[in-house]
Symmetry: C2
Subunit: 347 residues, 2 copies
Amino acid sequence: MQINRIGKQTFVFHNEPNIIGAAAVVGKKEGQGPMKKWFDVILKDDSYGEKTWEKSESKILKKAILLALENAGKTKEQIDAILSGDLINQLMSSSFMARDLQIPFLGLYGACSTMTESLILGAVLIDGGYAQNIIAAASSHYCTAERQFRMPLEHGNQRPPSAQWTVTGAGSMILSNQIRSQQMIAGEPAKNLVVTHATVGKIVDAGIKDVNQMGAAMAPATVDTIMQHLKDTGREPSYYDVILSGDLGMVGKKIVKDLLLKENIDVSTVYDDCGAMMYEKEQDAHSGGSGCGCSASIFSGHIFKEMRQGKIRKALLISTGALLSTISSQQGESIPGIAHAVAVEGK
Amino acid sequence: MQINRIGKQTFVFHNEPNIIGAAAVVGKKEGQGPMKKWFDVILKDDSYGEKTWEKSESKILKKAILLALENAGKTKEQIDAILSGDLINQLMSSSFMARDLQIPFLGLYGACSTMTESLILGAVLIDGGYAQNIIAAASSHYCTAERQFRMPLEHGNQRPPSAQWTVTGAGSMILSNQIRSQQMIAGEPAKNLVVTHATVGKIVDAGIKDVNQMGAAMAPATVDTIMQHLKDTGREPSYYDVILSGDLGMVGKKIVKDLLLKENIDVSTVYDDCGAMMYEKEQDAHSGGSGCGCSASIFSGHIFKEMRQGKIRKALLISTGALLSTISSQQGESIPGIAHAVAVEGK
């Protein structure tokens, strides 16, 4: 039996599952930020024509999936399973999306780490020969998250500078055991994207109880997973063109750099954070973006397209999650952080 | 590359991942029901010494995992990942359990289908060579579920006869790529349990909106998965000694039998339901048990032990989930049902 594992926490995909299609659908505010040119759809109205924010989010997720299928040249009948999750209690967005699409469904919850959780398990199902085509997806919505985790929108409460802004958006990728038929992008043959490794994170709790300090709460878990990944694979940070954490925002991004430097790991030339990348400073999003949809839409938009064009060759994506609940904070608990890493290469 | 898949929705595990240990921890009421002799721990007090019900549930889950490890002869350092979920918003029980155990963690949400979701993905990780030892687990607690999904406990509301009682309990199984060292049970060599197949379900929504009719809401999804499993594997129901659905209760169990009979599939001699098995009629649990902990504790208690002794040889376990959310019902949505099946054989 082949061992598809190296080191303590890292899977190796010898059959190189391909990411053959992707799409990102985002809200109006996200479509005004620096990432706007990479998104497939930018909504004019975040309600997306639905009567409740939860139904809007579910529709955004479904749209991202249908566009990714189109991008991959697949029909939903060719898909073996959807792996998806979101922040809404009981995964309402994902469950109702999966009800509509009628594809076998595995619901995942990793808070904002969900995009890499779904990519990891999707890659395992393809690489291991259990599936031929898988949808991996995740979503979030400012209006569903804000009222569930924080305050009613109508309350108009003040946010501290360390707070992050939940991204309205969804990302979806199609994983397949077959490579994508050759396509040309700007006169050059497009690269084929393959998932090569994945590192499953363990929970690190820094003892932070302030729900406006999510970046700080998740940074130590991010550092733990990056270091474990480098150790397991024997790689230096410079192996990657890009090391991208999920959504730590400005505050958390700085902490990650500092903590890694203390361990003599310098990521300064390759590291960035999806939360820090999502908005312009003038957009009043304070420390940056957050939510499952943040790393999901940036991977499925910016990173996927840059890799297809060969402008990024090797990327390490680390979505990060804060595993607090709506009541754990009220019960005096600190915020458990988690981060999962996925290595993707364009070949 | 080996294809580990048959039919439309079924994985085949050629390397036969072993279930080398299991444990079930339940509350006082569950410990007074017909399954009592199979549980490893029956609590005297469902608070389990904790100040909040959520922390009680997390502690019950952790206890079931630690006992399963002991039963399997493994230490937590030998475990590659925990796959677990529960009903509490943001998987509070599982997240805080995983924080304490410091093992790589993948959170799953399939409502009451979570036990088979974790078994399926755990079996995939072992069978595919991505892990050597995995913990698959799930939990629920009457007091956390009741106040989250229904009414404050102090309200003492009336429950209709079709309502089910959320099980206070957790079940955990240890999956391994190595067989368990030979043990004797009652003078006979114990059987080795292997996971042979898994069928991932798709969502079936029967249009039911009454949250006191969960069994009826989940029954069509259960029938869909049973029929798909039989079709994919080419088996008759009689192949199995036991076909056990998750927690449809008395009402849902009858519907499953009726719907299958309409399709000329007679399961009457082998079929039962964990929800229907959990309580005595006099225990006032109305239609029976529900919650992730229901099928989790019955598989990890009764079924695991009977299979180890060779009294059950072939079992098909189908945990069933109602993927409604705390707000989807308020928004007029019907209840999406899902069911995943896992085939286990004692060899």
